[in-house]
Amino acid sequence: MTSASFLPRDRLQALFDRLREQGYRCVGPRVRDGTVIYDDLTDAANLPVGIGARQAPGSYRLTHEGHSRCFAWANGPQALKPLLFAPRESLWRAVRHDDGRMRFEPTAQQSRQLAVVGVRACDLAALTLQDAHFAADIADAGYASRRGGLLLIGVDCTHPADTCFCASTGDGPGIGSGADIALSELESGFLVRPNSAAGALLCDALPLRDASDDELYTAAAELESARSKQHRRLPGRNLRDALFANLDHPRWNDVAGRCLSCGNCVAVCPTCFCSTEREEAAFDGSESTRVRLWDSCFSAEHSYLHGRLLRPDTRTRYRQWLTHKLGGWHDQYGRSGCVGCGRCITWCPVGIDISAEAAAICGETVEPGEARGTREGS
């Protein structure tokens, strides 16, 4: 057990005040349209106090639990992803001069330091994967700039949803090394563990006291209980070979019969990175902007090549999503692309469960009750 300090609940506002003083734009969980999402937050009173989130395959509902905790909900539909990999990004501006010459100007803006309060372990793991994709040897300017100014304040998950399985992927529910500061929420306040120079600087300015053994013990016990509450799991950490060896498995047809090809799963998945480019031209043709939008492997155009679609049907599209997510990622980035956040299960309108599909295709039977909400059979 690492050493930790304690921030009393009634002093939580100090965290937001210090962040503002240190020049950060501060974002945290807010209740919006019946979900918890990340939005601007400067006042601790605007945290989702007493809110829980009941999730199941194909359903999400906020509940009022009557307690004073503000991080007692499992993740909402939105991860850190939109804060870094923007759903819409201008890439460059092209200017055409009268003499036919062209000029191209990058449009990436230097972004302000951003602090995110209330980050989940699964989303930190997903961030590491997005970093590997967008900010490694060939860096995306917009992503890298926003990433550079990011301060992350993580909170251990003590209230996992029915759809969460981060314990099985090894990515949660406790905050690991990816955050600048890790918090554990207890009834009376927060355990605070800085994990970077920026995190330590911030902690130095907070009204902290040493944590008691009792507080440390309680936090560890709550985390352990959260871990054991998770009942979904993937049938292994590396399913690459099993998936690619089963490209003709009948389950692909079965899931294609249920899947609507809507792409919700891709939109909520914190690791999905596909995008498409569009032109936005000025009316007089003198200027245009190259814009990048999120895309999905469930869209028809995603597999367009010379007038035909390489993946013309839901079977090949769902198979692309799963073989990539749990297979190809191992080759590309050294691990599975799934961090067990469960969002794709919750937000799938027909409740398709990635863990059940993977188990069916990779040859493991799903225990009764493990695939609740999905149609039975394989």
């Binding site: 498409t276 032109e279 995603h302 010379h306 007038g307 692309q320 297979g327 080759d331």
Partner: protein
């Protein structure tokens, strides 16, 4: 040269060559002298050519990497962007990003026999490789160029084939599925010709480019002739947009074709090609 994400650079059309009714070559030059001096590529790599307000398209670089005056792009006007590119004239500008991807293994192929198998019309990536070898003929062993077309009338660049055939230790064979009565070479599939050129399997490097069914057939035939799968190279196409492995459109199983390819060893991709959906 390391690929970069980011804005295109301006390139000017120095001249253009009309190859057929719908095929043309743009001879481009980067406007910025420093960008021009820094630009290096390998045959088989590609650029994204971009027209503001219209869009971008990946085009293989056809010219010789040591001939620095122009970057040549042979293009067929078949899509939205290429039809507009077809209207460009000398003096016009385009946006250029690249070079992207991994080209043919020209270095490793030195001292080896080469067999080039191509199907369809003016397969640009492979034409760049042939041009490279022909300009450095003494560095390579035997060269066999096998070109297949559907109709004999589809064959372009007849003079080039004739000129290549006159080079030392070089064989050129043409195959047409549907020949007219003037056709003097093989009738049938280009892959049939592999049996006729007498390869030395353990010192042959095969460069294959064309429609995927043809590449599958060629790789299968080469393997039966005992050419190791690590010596068979293919050039693939997928929906490239960004060129740097970010947009995800070109994924083929575990690969980003734009970044890990477009040229691959058959040993790496053979298992995926021919599988519907990949």
């Amino acid at each position: 040269m390391k690929a970069a994400a980011g804005a295109p650079r301006e390139a000017q059309v120095l001249s253009r060559t009309d190859e057929t009714a719908d095929m043309f070559t743009l001879h481009l030059r980067l406007t910025d002298a420093r960008a021009r001096a820094a630009y290096r590529f390998t045959p088989g790599q590609f650029n994204m050519l971009y027209l503001p307000g219209i869009g971008g398209v990946p085009i293989s670089i056809a010219s010789d990497p040591d001939r620095r005056e122009t970057l040549d792009h042979t293009i067929r006007a078949v899509g939205r962007v290429t039809r507009v590119l077809a209207q460009l004239r000398a003096g016009d500008s385009v946006g250029l990003r690249g070079p992207y991807g991994r080209g043919w293994p020209m270095h490793d192929a030195e001292g080896q026999d080469l067999v080039v198998v191509t199907g369809g019309l003016g397969c640009a990536p492979v034409v760049a490789a042939i041009g490279y070898v022909v300009a450095r003929r003494e560095r390579f062993g035997r060269l066999a160029i096998l070109q297949g077309v559907k109709h004999s009338a589809d064959l372009i660049w007849r003079e080039r084939y004739d000129a290549w055939a006159r080079l030392p230790d070089t064989r050129v064979r043409l195959a047409a599925d549907k020949p007219d009565h003037h056709w003097g070479d093989h009738i049938g599939l280009v892959t049939d010709l592999l049996d006729e050129v007498q390869l030395r399997p353990d010192r042959t490097v095969a460069l294959v480019c064309g429609p995927e069914p043809m590449m599958l057939a060629a790789a299968g035939r080469l393997a039966r002739l005992n050419v190791p799968e690590t010596r068979i190279w293919v050039s693939l196409e997928r929906g490239f947009q960004c060129g740097v492995g970010h947009c995800g459109h070109c994924q083929l199983g575990p690969y980003f074709v734009c970044r890990d390819g477009p040229v691959f060893r058959w040993a790496d991709v053979g298992w995926l090609l021919g599988t519907r959906g990949f």
